[in-house]
Amino acid sequence: MNNRIFAAFILSLACPHLSTAAEKSTPGASGGQSTTNEAEMNKTIKMESRQPMNMDEPMPTGMAKPGMKKGDVKTHAKKQEATMDEMMRQEEMKQSPPPPH
C-alpha cells in the first residue's frame, strides 16, 4: 500500500513535465507601453463574418472524446453556472459586512 502511494506521488510530480513539449530558453521581458485605438477596432470587426454554430456536429478539436458535440459546452456551462452561482452567492454573503441597523 505504501509503495502504491509513493508511486502515485512520483507519477503526479512527473505528469506535468511529461505531458508538455515546452521549449526551454533564457527568460526575459518584451514590449513597451501602448493603448488600443477604438477606430482600429471597428475596422477589424467589419472585416470578419460568422456562421451560427452547429451544435449537433462533432467537435473538430483533438481534445474531444468520441461522441462529443459542439453543443455539449453550452449544456455543461449552464449546469456549472447554476451550481457556482448559488455557492458564490453564499460566499459573498459570508464576506460582506452586516447591514447597518
Binding site: 507601453q33 470587426i45 456551462a77
Partner: protein, 253 residues
Amino acid sequence: MKKRPRLYTALTTVAPKEIQLLERRLFLKRSLSLGALALLTGCDVTDVDAVHRTLWAMSKWNDRAQGWLFNPHKLAPVYPDSAITKPFPFNAFYDEDEVPMVDSGKYKLTLGGLIRDKKPWTLAQLYALPQVSQITRHVCVEGWSAIGKWSGVPFRYFLERVGADLSAKYVGFKCLDDYYTSIDMATALHPQTQLTFKYADQILPAKYGFPMKLRIPTKLGFKNPKHIAEIYVTNVYPGGYWEDIGYNWFSGL
C-alpha cells in the same frame, strides 16, 4: 584489433563526473516509469468507476503538487520577432467560420465574486489601460505549439485596479462562446499573465478571441480563455469545461 564503436570512443572523452550525472538522471527516469507501472498493476481496469476515481484523485493531487512547485517569479521563455509562427493556428471546439462575433459597442466585461468594484467595463475603458507586449509560446495539450505576439494589460494590474481579493484561491472566466475555465490566483498574479487585446500589434482578431482573451504563457493553451465575458474571483473551486471531463486543472508548463 577490433575497432571501438564511435559512441564508445566519444564517451571516453566525457568526464566521469558528467557520466555519473547522466546515470543519475537515467535512474530517476526509470524509477518514474517503474512507479507508474507499479501503480497500474494495482488497478482493476474492468472497474471503470474505480479507475476514474483513482485518476481523478491523482489529477487533484497533481494540481496540488503543481501549485506547490509553481514559482510565481519564474518567467516563461520569450522569443524574437523572427520566431513568430505564421500563420498562428486556430484551435477551438468549433470551426473557424463559427467564431462568435461580438458587437464592440454593446460589449461589457462583467465582474463577479470577491471583487470590490464590480462595475462593468466597456471596451474603450479596457483599451485605455496601460498595455505591454510579449512574444511567447502557446503550447497545446494536443502536442503542437506556436509562437505569437500578444499585447494587453498585465492581469495583476487589472485585478488590483478592480479591488479583487488577491488572497482568494481562484479566478474564473465565462466566455461568449460558452466556454468556461478557471485558474489559481498565483498564476493570475504572474507578471506574464495578460488580459490580451491585440495579436501581432493588431486588434485581436475574432478567431484569436476578440474582444479579449487571457494569455498565460505558463499554462497549456486550453487554460487561455478567449472571448471573455465575465471574470470572477472565488474560493469555491470553479473547474472548467475540459477540466470537468478529465483534463488536468492546473496544466502548468
